[in-house]
Amino acid sequence: MTLLDGPPHVIAAGAGLLADALAEQAAAVTGVTWRPPLAGTAGDLARVLADPRRQAANDLAVRRLTSARPHLTGVRRASEVLRQAEPTFLHAGPPITWERASGPMRGALVGAMLFEGYAHDEEEAVARLAGGEVRLEPCHQHAAVGPMAGVVSPSMWLYEVRDLEHGGTAYCSLNEGLGKVLRYGAYGAEVLDRLRWMDTVLGPVLSAAIELAGPIDLRNMIAQALQMGDELHNRNRAATSLMLRELAPAIADAAPGSASEVLRFIAGNDHFFLNAGMAAAKVSTDAARDIPGSSMVVAMARNGTDFGVQVSGLGGRWFTGPAGVPDGLYLGAYGPEDANPDIGDSTITETSGLGGFAMAAAPAIVRFVGGEVADAVAATRSMYEITLAEHPAYQIPGLGFRGTPTGIDVTLVARTGLLPVVNTGIAGKVAGTGQVGAGLVSPPVEAFTAALRALAENAADPSDP
């Protein structure tokens, strides 16, 4: 049908009076609930929207993101993957120095010093870190992600996830469990004991088991877990169960002697899958990197001090703002005054259309987003307003198997003023405390307006496509 063949269904953006006039004529009208863009962004928006590369670039970016086929292909030592000449620790979020690092980040770095034997005690660890004896680099700079503090030291084991569609590889550490754990900044004896057990038992057993089981299709596993009530960030119970089911026979075959303790460890940790899921998200978003003109977000990450985003068309540049304190539920006697600002690379799940964006899939944890199932549905529905596509494989049964909102567009964030919905764990602000709660956090708006400004500065001339 062409425009002139019959009464048109009109999309009306702007004056309510004109939409009313259409309704009076019994015309079909869809009203846009328009509001002005974020303050100060109108000029940048116009330049970016006029960039002749943008639409095709974003189509390509989101197609690569949603067509990635992440598979778990191995578990390897960080030293083998990173091959750093000098002592280097990876950390979550955008780049950070020891001086600016928050309590849990410092705690995790101290724990890694002790674990690696770079220091004999806390005091020595702090002195060496403050003296710059260990390089600190973002996980994201090394095709890796880490939850919470995200500290990766050379002898730690990492999941290796390959994108069989585009050929990329991404890494993430193994999950230690909940409570007092390194990623939340704890570094007491129990933390170090567990790390040593992971070093000598869990890592080698998983490595051998995956070799036996062959590549595990994480895209498929995530798709199934979404239909079983996970959103893959704050709830990983279904995915962990699926992974355990997949790995158990191979673990028993590979290491009959330690199989029971390894299986018991995995079964005792509802978030065991999180790190594999994060590596899957990372390899998918990395497939969408470096597409000139694309305004799609390819990373959101926090280091406990800054919240940073990276954008496909802007290479490895970070755009940051202060990390906010999450709003959530607290463990035991902890309260908001104990909470550290937002931390971790786990926002890679939201970046790839999971986590807060898939909240409607996880009615069991709706108390994180306001208490009602309707709030979870509303959270997911609102994210379709700032994303480029619906994921073809990651679907939400409660929304009629609609694909999750995927591919955050910086221009849509600026236009709607809607910030990504981020689910998160909450770390204690004092080094050594560990986890104090879980909830929701709002990214800082300036990270997105700064990225928009950079896109505007890099925009191609519209007359020269």
């Binding site: 009464p7 009306a12 846009v32 929207l49």
Partner: protein, 451 residues
């Protein structure tokens, strides 16, 4: 007497909606002044001029400034209005409304109508084009290079851009923007001017001839910068439309090169084209008459109602217009007098169009010197003032002036053309459905006095 000033974060409504709220609040017995507006620089300035002390606010915030003996009641009323404006329909609690044209287009649609503030219209229009939808841009104030860019992208997609600053269109029987209720028929209009298209189509309607479609192109389309892309596309669309037997092209003085290009297209069409080039002496009434003759239809005596009292004329000729094209047509025909288009950007920043809000024109009418000849237009149709004569008639009756009204509308318009005409006539105005005739009449009264 006290002032109450506050800012609401995160509440947005368009300026027309908020002006209705402001008006409702200022009509309360305990309120003298009520300003409810988005906190743009302009609106902050207006409130400051009224003597209000203002807190810091962003353009995205809602500014409320109330003055009177009972501002508390006004504040309560405000809450009631705002709650009513944002109330969701039944069963809509979890439905996310689309926040962008792009999002709305994903849910389906054939055409986008964009009337957001001008600096933001580009984004919504681009959404429509990228979604493969034609778009009517009612908003004005878009730089020409962005208009050109939109039209180039639209050409790649094979969709039509109507506007920017496109005030009226009729597509498939649906009136968009300021639109008269026109009978269906064989004439397709391509118009660079909204009120120009309204005048021509209303006269055709009066002669019993209906329209197939009215496609606006924006006043700048035939400029060298924009290159006539929409005019050419609209002509081709109407040529392919089986319901269109005759095309009327209402254009503004074109760039010569663009005019040549359009001429070639016109010559290649199977459908005959009647052209009305504004500003070249051809008036809109003559264009409607040319179209009737091309269809072999008789030209009627255009309706008029003369209630004027042209005695005591001694003042100037004053044109108080809401339609830009009607204003310049009248000025050209009258050849003398002081004409103001209150629909111009300069008068509509931060306030509604004079076709909706008569305040500025009523003030201008009150300020005309005694004995003047006043010429004004009243445009009927969807989205226009629901009863313009109600406010105008008393103002006309109160003036010692000769008032001539160009009444643009059809018998089917919601305002009731005849009732409007009779009310204005009874107030002492001479009412013409042809703007050209109204202008000639006013000029001859004015001349008669001068001689």
């Amino acid at each position: 007497m006290s002032d109450a000033v506050f800012v609401r974060k995160g509440v947005y409504h368009d300026s027309v909606t908020l002006m209705r709220v402001s008006r409702a609040l200022s009509e309360l017995p305990g309120t003298e002044v009520a300003v409810v507006a988005m906190a743009t620089e302009l609106n902050l300035g207006l409130a400051r001029d009224l003597g209000f002390e203002l807190p810091a606010a962003d353009p995205g915030d809602l500014l409320v400034a109330l003055r009177g003996p009972d501002t508390a009641t006004a504040a309560q009323e405000l809450d009631r209005h705002l709650a009513a404006l944002s109330a969701a329909g039944p069963g809509q609690e979890t439905e996310q409304p689309p926040l962008t044209t792009r999002s709305a287009a994903r849910r389906g649609g054939d055409l986008a109508l964009v009337s957001v503030p001008g600096e933001h219209a580009f984004a919504e229009a681009m959404d429509a084009i990228e979604s493969g939808l034609p778009v009517m841009i009612f908003s004005d104030g878009m730089p020409a290079e962005r208009e050109r860019l939109l039209k180039e992208r639209a050409d790649e997609r094979g969709v039509l851009v109507m506007g920017p600053d496109c005030g009226t269109a009729v597509v498939g029987g649906v009136g968009l923007g300021f639109a008269n209720v026109l009978r269906p028929g064989p004439v397709g209009l391509v118009a660079a001017s909204g009120t120009g298209a309204q005048q021509v189509s209303c006269l055709l309607d009066q002669a019993g001839v209906g329209v197939s479609h009215v496609l606006g192109v924006g006043g700048r389309d035939l400029s060298a910068e924009v290159g006539g892309l929409s005019t050419v596309r609209a002509l081709r669309m109407l040529d392919e439309d089986p319901a269109t037997e005759l095309i009327v092209l209402v254009s503004k003085p074109p760039d010569p090169e663009v005019a040549g290009r359009v001429r070639k297209v016109v010559e290649s069409l199977r459908t005959p084209v009647v052209e009305a080039l504004l500003g070249s002496g051809a008036d809109l009434t003559a264009a409607a008459e040319d179209a009737l003759r091309a269809l072999g239809r008789p030209v009627p005596d255009w309706l008029s109602w003369d209630g004027s009292r042209p005695d005591g004329v001694r003042g100037p000729l004053v044109g108080i217009y809401s339609g830009g094209t009607l204003c310049s047509e009248a000025a050209l025909i009258a050849g003398t007098g002081e004409f103001t288009d209150y629909g111009d950007d300069a008068y509509t920043r931060g306030r509604a169009h004079p076709m909706i809000d008569p305040t500025l024109r009523l003030e201008a009418l009150r300020e005309t010197p005694p004995g003047a000849v006043v010429l004004l237009d009243v445009v009927l149709g969807h989205a226009a003032d629901p009863d313009p004569a109600a406010a105008l008639a008393p103002a006309i009756a109160a003036r010692h002036a000769t008032v001539v009204v160009a009444l643009i509308g059809t018998e089917a318009d919601p305002q009731d053309l005849r009732r409007q005409a009779e009310t204005l006539r009874d107030a002492g105005a001479a009412v013409f459905t042809s703007n050209a005739r109204a202008a000639r009449h006013a000029a001859s009264i004015h001349r008669g006095n001068q001689s």
